[in-house]
Symmetry: D2
Subunit: 353 residues, 4 copies
């Protein structure tokens, strides 16, 4: 369509980013151009903004536009796109799968061997327009407010971690511990409750976020700096431990604690990414207990998106308390500041203002 747009660009290695005029991109074969309505900030975006060690290693192509949690309206479609039309309001699955490797061919595209990430390996969504593969566009449908559709991606992370790789048959009637109440942990608290869990214990050092965990339905709140979270979970469960532990913090010590609060035969979903090796007492905490540790990444395409749509559109989970701040895109510095502050959960920017 030609013309230019505003985009938040990372132009050089180092902290910060800058708004710049950029040509509006064209959708290629199998791609769609989306006019961005809302994009939310993820921890990954903060890493890129701050240019931490992970970002310096992972981002190899500068300048680039970042941001990947996004919802908007399809503006135009590229060649070979048959099943989505301009005008559709969509949210983006951010895992771009090859479609041809062994895991893709067996229905596990989210762990594709050739995975690329929107806004990391491609130009992202902190912009007026973004190009995504048509296969990654999920039609949002009625019942989910356009302002909040960009959170479907991280909400889906929480859905996938909560239900796990076995389907979540261990949630209903069982005690569950959620370690780390950033936005994904907060969503998980709500999803866990909606799935019929009993006694959801939320573990989070930040008081602001513990308060949000209570709003999302946590039965027990634990400040791990004030009390031993393992003891707290055992106490809340008459000594049996949590049947399910959802590890959202990526903190090595918390992961070890997670194994210790797990019931015999219990399941721990590991979603938080530790930034180094993690040391565990496998003999006593995993082997003798027959515990199961399951790595979790991304979202099942697209079973997770269907579950996400149902949970949000029916009100089974009310995600609104987690969305704490909204800014027009040009106030991106405030958006990153409040994200980093710890006095926020999900922060959304609106390129349209």
């Amino acid at each position: 369509m030609g013309g230019t747009m505003r985009a938040l660009r990372k132009t050089r290695p180092g902290p910060g980013a800058e708004l710049a005029e950029q040509p509006i991109p064209s959708p290629g074969e199998g791609e769609v151009l989306v006019r961005v309505h809302a994009a939310s900030l993820c921890g990954t975006d903060l890493h890129i903004f701050d240019w931490n060690e992970w970002a310096a290693t992972r981002i190899t192509r500068l300048p680039m536009t970042f941001g990947h949690e996004v919802a908007g309206t399809v503006e135009s479609v590229g060649p070979e796109v048959h099943h989505i039309q301009p005008g559709a309001f969509v949210a983006a699955e951010t895992h771009i799968a090859c479609g041809h490797c062994s895991t893709c061919r067996t229905g596990r595209a989210h762990i594709c061997e050739n995975l690329r990430i929107l806004g990391v390996d491609t130009d992202g969504a902190f912009a007026e327009y973004v190009v995504i593969p048509a296969a990654n566009a999920w039609i949002v449908g009625e019942g989910i407010h356009p302002d909040t559709a960009s959170i479907m991606e991280p909400f889906g992370n929480a859905v996938h971690a909560t239900f796990g790789t076995e389907g979540g048959e261990d949630l209903a009637t069982n005690p569950v511990a959620v370690i780390g109440c950033g936005p994904i942990g907060l969503f998980a608290v709500g999803i866990t409750r909606a799935a019929g869990a009993w006694k959801v214990v939320a573990i989070e050092p930040n008081e602001y976020r513990r308060d949000l965990a209570a709003k999302m339905g946590a039965d027990v709140l634990v400040d791990p700096r004030a009390q031993d979270p393992v003891a707290a979970v055992l106490e809340a469960t008459n000594g049996s431990g949590a049947e399910v532990v959802l590890e959202m913090s990526g903190n090595a010590r918390a992961i070890d604690q997670g194994t210790r609060m797990l019931a015999r035969g219990g399941r721990m979903s590991l979603l938080g990414l530790p930034d180094g090796p993690v040391t565990l007492d496998l003999a006593d905490q995993v082997i003798f207990k027959e515990a199961r540790l399951h790595g979790i990444t991304g979202r099942e395409m697209f079973r997770t998106w269907q579950q996400t749509t149902t949970l949000l559109s029916t009100g089974r989970v009310d995600a609104r308390p987690v969305i704490t701040h909204r800014f027009p895109l040009e106030r991106f510095e405030e958006a990153f500041e409040v994200t980093a502050s710890g006095r926020s959960a999900k922060v959304i920017v609106f390129p349209g203002g």
Copy 2:
């Protein structure tokens, strides 16, 4: 302990029953004597009371005391009972398993090859005292009112049917249809909602029970005499059908309809017992759809009881609307009459008055 007690006895083939003084039984090896606090009426009890064809064939030993949904206080224990003490308040698992057959030895005692049923194959619980195997006594614990603990057995039926043999990973976020809203169906509506199902459709011709289904949380109510239930479920699910169908009616036509309202890849739990052969369109409704039909009987020992305890004691399910009538045992005739009337759900009798 000696002495006598009042017991509701079936003394001869034919309708009716009579209260009689009986010796208080003594617990044998591995058994406990329970002072009955409350016993609830099951469809099976009505069959025995009315002496229908099933009863005439199945009950081979008269006179006998019937009744099997029971809760009460352990009065004394027989030899070889080590883990339950007099004074414990217990509910009874009514499937008496041999413990030694192949299914028992592999953790599936509820489908024991030598199964006997309390109050059918042994003297039952419509009496001041009943003897049960110690292994069948479930300690009720706090949080469940003694008056209503006798319903844990049929509630457990509903729990087992709802979660199914695979654990219920298909409930959360999915549409579910419950066919037949007798007490077990009504419990299932509540359990299904507690497990996070979306759009629970209750199908029941009796208006009194449809009203109760609404109270238990059904999203859609269908009177199968007024509208085609298959069409109703398809309409409620945008044409996809119910991911899970819980068949509680035992009606041959309803079972066939259940397969027709099932989504592709869906699961149907069959709990209602048809009284004759059932004719199905396996090719179109099961094979091409890859539907799964699962027979359900009794309760998993004792996983189902743990789930039942949690659901009831935490209030995740409020079963009170289902308990519609209470009588002292001597008013048993009224109790059977109201059970048969269709203007009731669960009816409980209290031998202590």
Copy 3:
């Protein structure tokens, strides 16, 4: 590429078919043109050839080329085909899924809501060339002889039925009954043995096919006209019944018998298509036994194909005994005759002679 080819055409309603010169088709968008090396005959093809009631109802477009079990070399590719090149030797998945419905989007394309079948809804493979969607082309790889690659499709049916929808965790060490030893049943005998089943009972009235079942590894052979197959399975399993029953016959009486030979808690995969309603004793044979009846159709895309490839290429299953006849395409009448005769299993035709 232009030019003409020989193709086996159904030109009018009624028995028979005729070889005709046809234009070589051109692959459209997302399609590939395959030069057919071998095509095998399926029961469906026999229905079409004979023009039975099913065919008269199902086939709405005449004239047409039929045949769908096929392997050959990609001759050319249409627009938008990126991941398969001319020269690749491929077998065809015959379920053409839409890719956009709810079941497709959740990894269950084989039960797509808009499914079309190669050689039924499109022109098929009894021809020198056939066009298939690129997504349906499975690269055969080394280790599977080109002459026999066309059987991967029905072999995959057997793989899917044997492992079932739960993954086949009930096969190893368990007794399994296979009802009906046509080619798919015969493959299932071999797969069942390869998966570690114990005591595979093959039930088949045709002596020629029972002999093949023995060659494929059946431990016990049962002629259902000479002995009661239910009694035979119970006897072979010390009265417990088969943990898994694979129903390949589609015969209503055999399906009923299948439920009766099933162990408590057992699983029955239903693949054979009955041509009318089926009457079952659900109460005694399914509900009280907690049996599971699972409809099975097609092949999981493409997990089943990976399993098929491994089983055949490693020799874990030797499928050669099942391939009983080979003909050049022009001898198609003999091919159909021997297929109908009962003194054959899989029959393959070679358009190249």
Copy 4:
């Protein structure tokens, strides 16, 4: 029955053991007295014999008789034993479960909260007679030679690890790596093959045991001192890694390597007990790959015993190559020496000579 017997006693902290005359024990309530036919040596027995740090901490009661892998004939039964008669030939499940805790009540007695171990917490089986709970006696039946029935316990460990907590649906047609080829690893190689796995890679530094792994059916043998086992598994699987890794070594480095050789979405059963903390790269090897690490201990009671019985009695697994040495009990010092030597696999002692 009175009288005395020879028993191998640990009389004081420190290496060694001594044969002593002991009173023949009497079976208590619910117990049986077994005349020991054969008892095999386990790594645990070697720890006790050598009196390593683990033994010094774990064994609190001296003197005691050790040994727990045992088969023999029931000589007499204690009170309250109804379902096993003198004369029965039995093997012992060595996990003595309480039967009353939450895990026992939910069918997971092998991870009982109050677990005791035969020959560790009770007097063991290196003796002419041993007392075990009747519930722990598994009737061996025909088809398993009495001389080798004592190995059913460690063989069961291998069965449970191989099938895992999900049932082993991931074995057939998939590549499997077995790390550590002591007796349990060697059994696992055979079981894995019997369950239809493809390309079983056995990783073991000891040449003697690698040779046994080949005899048990390993397709690929890896000496981890001569080549990188991660590279070897990746090479054997075209870069994809093993779908299942069975960790039998307990070696911290090998466990880390196990995660690295695991395919995306793969499962690792952890059975070998590390003697200290284990450090893992959870982010790259577990989370991004969605790997599943499952702790495994003991045997499912008694599903694993049924599977074990079938595998051994039908010859689906021939365990004989693993039984490398037999001694009369009085030559126990040779038995421990050859067990420690590395030039042996399973060593069996016979109290009867």
